[in-house]
């Protein structure tokens, strides 16, 4: 059975998450200890700044949660009662569903954030690399990672920008073809302007001009961002040249006036100008936004874009959950087909045992035949049994594809008396190979 034991920003405070977290290079040893000390046969540890989760599987269907919780307490030196208060446990398909949701960013602090998928991939690679995963976790993770990619693309849950600085850069990208090689003017050298400017640089803006009332600060920021600095009273000339303006000074009154920008617009010959004003009180006269070809966004406008983006993400999340449920059902069908292994093995064992019995019963009457002829009779019996087995097994596997494997398997067990305590029903020892084949077939 699948079990997931974990804590996240939703269930545990930061100091506890810090204590429970595993460093990536410590994960392989921890996994080895987990597999050695419990009944767990496959496991993976996902440890990020917002969550610590142990996903595992017990081959015998036993309950793993208490043992895994105890392991985590022991491993990270946390008192068991404290740990238990902040842990959640998901079992069976709920564990699969939780993993899928995490990979899609549906359980993240910022809904839909994309980093988590990479972290899940990394955690899986580490677990796989040290041999801690097997048939079921491999399938679950590979299927889950692919499903998360599909869900993200189809729903657009990660599409829109959800921070002010990022929203500014995103808006710039809806105006200009390509930000690389664009020029930007930065007015003011505070934290917020720096952050916004950094986003622009990360999007490819190369020609960055910084100015500030205190020139030394402008010089510092320009150096930090790889741009140049100009004297405060000359920025009017830059307005006619640059594509993007970011302002965030501490001035009490607007420092960029309509008259100034109007003059610049005339010299720009129709090139669009994008102005981001993140100062409060505002640096740019609101009337500047009415000028032709000038797109002025203040803090509230950007916040509005961020809020709208969050709304979009919440809507996308509803659709993402629906898609996930379909993916979980697909995984469940695969899992059911794996569970058929023992039934198929028992069925085959039972019929072949019957064949052996009959051959023994007729042994004396076959004694007159030559050894070659006896071998032919044995082959005939085996071949007949194989033929008889074929249709029921195919039918069972196709039932698994429809998600009806359990009921069908129960029916077979009843019809063929597979659960009867008879020595000839002991064919299930060969289960796992059948199990894997059963999985690959669908």
């Amino acid at each position: 059975m699948l079990t997931l034991v974990g804590m996240s920003h939703k269930s545990a405070p930061l100091d506890l998450r810090e204590r429970a977290c595993f460093a990536e290079n410590a994960v392989p040893d921890a996994l080895a200890r987990l597999l050695a000390s419990t009944t767990v046969s496959e496991a993976m540890i996902l440890a990020t700044c917002n969550r610590v989760e142990i996903l595992c599987r017990t081959a015998d269907g036993g309950v793993a949660a208490p043992a895994v919780t105890a392991f985590l307490a022991r491993e990270r030196g946390i008192e068991l009662p404290v740990l238990e208060r902040h842990l959640y446990v998901r079992e069976g398909l709920h564990a699969a569903r939780h993993l899928y949701a995490v990979a899609c960013g549906l359980d993240s602090m910022i809904l839909g954030e994309p980093q988590i998928l990479g972290q899940v991939k990394r955690a899986y690679a580490v677990a796989r690399g040290c041999g801690a995963t097997g048939v079921v976790l491999d399938r679950l993770l590979q299927h889950g990672i692919a499903a998360a990619k599909r869900v993200r693309t189809a729903t657009g849950i990660s599409r829109h920008a959800v921070s002010i600085a990022y929203a500014a850069a995103t808006l710039a990208r809806t105006i200009f073809d390509d930000l690389s090689g664009r020029s930007a003017l930065v007015l003011g050298a505070g934290k917020m302007t720096e952050l916004a400017a950094r986003h622009l640089v990360s999007q490819g803006v190369r020609d960055l001009v910084v100015t500030n009332r205190t020139y030394s600060r402008a010089l510092q920021l320009a150096e930090a961002l790889g741009g140049t600095s100009v004297a405060w009273d000359t920025f009017g000339e830059e307005l006619a040249r640059v594509d993007i303006v970011v302002t965030g000074t501490a001035a009490a009154h607007p420092v960029v006036t309509r008259a100034q920008v109007r003059e610049a617009v005339r010299a720009r010959r129709g090139r669009p100008l994008f102005i981001v004003d993140i100062a409060v009180p505002r640096d740019v006269e609101p009337a500047v936004g009415e000028l032709d070809g000038v797109y002025l966004y203040d803090v509230d406008d950007l916040q509005g874009a961020v809020d709208a983006a969050m709304d979009e993400r919440r809507r996308a999340a509803e659709e993402a959950w629906r898609m996930l449920d379909v993916e979980v059902v697909a995984f469940d069908r695969w899992r059911q087909s794996v569970d058929l292994g023992p039934t198929i093995a028992a069925l085959s064992g039972r019929l072949h045992a019957l064949g052996e019995d009959e051959l023994r019963r007729f042994a004396r009457r076959l004694a007159g035949l030559s050894p070659e002829q006896q071998a032919v009779v044995r082959d005939l019996a085996r071949s007949l049994i194989q033929k008889v087995l074929h249709t029921p097994i195919v039918s069972l596997k196709s039932a698994a594809v429809r998600g009806e494997a359990s009921a069908r398997a129960a029916l077979y067990r009843e019809i063929f008396g597979l659960d009867d305590p008879r020595p000839d029903a002991e064919g299930s020892g060969t289960g796992p190979t059948h199990a894997i084949q059963g999985g690959k077939d669908d």
């Binding site: 189809a154 105006i175 129709g270």
Partner: protein
């Protein structure tokens, strides 16, 4: 036969429009592709219709106003498909296929009985004039579509409301650039179309100019486009004002058909 074929083509065309719109607006790549495929099928069917008409009449299907509209719609769809496959400006799917469909639909509904066609219209010179003019107007339709999208996008940027519109449409720069490029192709063709029309009129009717919608509106459209080009090159006018002029010019160019189908 041609009419039935055209009806099928229009139906496929409409399906393509719906799929393409859903695909673009809801960011469904598969749906957008299905839409493009349906539009390509409509393009083939419309081409087949034009061929059938041409074969039946043993002439280019450019004899009457409605035929002219069919060819124009088909040309616009051609340019749209080329644009769709070659550039990132996929949002044109929201404008160009519907414009093309309206033209084809108008041609379908207004279809003249063949008896009204003049034998003169099968002459090579006339065919040259109409093909050039049609290609020109089709290129101007692309300019129109880009300008319309530009205005929608610029409005969304100014009012700061619709995030969906902002991300669904291409960048302002791309819309402005492609609209202008289309104008650079369309304007010379329109000029040539008007000039050949005048020469044709002079040789057949013995006068260069008559005061009809067919003659007046193309010239007004030409004047608007000429003004727009002058403003762009000499005054650096771009963006919104350029877009409005391109839309106005295209509207005048379309009014030409009032004079052709009455």
């Amino acid at each position: 036969m041609a009419r039935a074929l055209l009806a099928v083509a229009l139906a496929v065309h409409l399906v393509g429009i719906a799929l393409a719109a859903v695909g673009e607006l809801r960011h469904r790549e598969a749906v957008a592709r299905a839409g493009a495929l349906a539009l390509a099928a409509a393009w083939l069917l419309e081409l087949a219709t034009l061929t059938a008409i041409g074969l039946a009449a043993s002439a280019f299907p450019l004899r009457t106003g409605p035929e002219y509209l069919l060819v124009l719609g088909w040309f616009v769809l051609t340019l749209h498909l080329a644009l769709w496959y070659r550039s990132r400006v996929r949002a044109a799917a929201l404008v160009l296929p519907p414009v093309a469909a309206l033209m084809v639909l108008a041609g379908f509904l207004l279809a003249d009985p063949p008896s009204r066609t003049s034998p003169l219209t099968t002459q090579g010179w006339f065919v040259f004039h109409t093909s050039i003019a049609t290609a020109g107007v089709a290129a101007l339709a692309v300019s129109f579509a880009m300008s319309l999208l530009f205005l929608v996008k610029e409005r969304a940027l100014k009012t700061k409301r619709s995030l969906r519109v902002l991300t669904a449409l291409p960048t302002l720069e791309a819309l402005d650039r492609i609209g202008f490029q289309a104008l650079l192709y369309g304007f010379p063709l329109l000029t040539l179309g008007i000039a050949t029309g005048m020469v044709y009129s002079a040789t057949v009717h013995d006068h260069i100019w008559i005061w009809g919608a067919k003659e007046i509106f193309p010239v007004i459209a030409w004047a608007v486009f000429a003004g727009l080009l002058w403003a762009r090159f000499a005054r650096g006018v771009r963006g919104r004002r350029s877009a409005i002029l391109a839309i106005a010019g295209f509207a005048f160019a379309l009014l030409t058909f009032v004079g052709m189908v009455r």
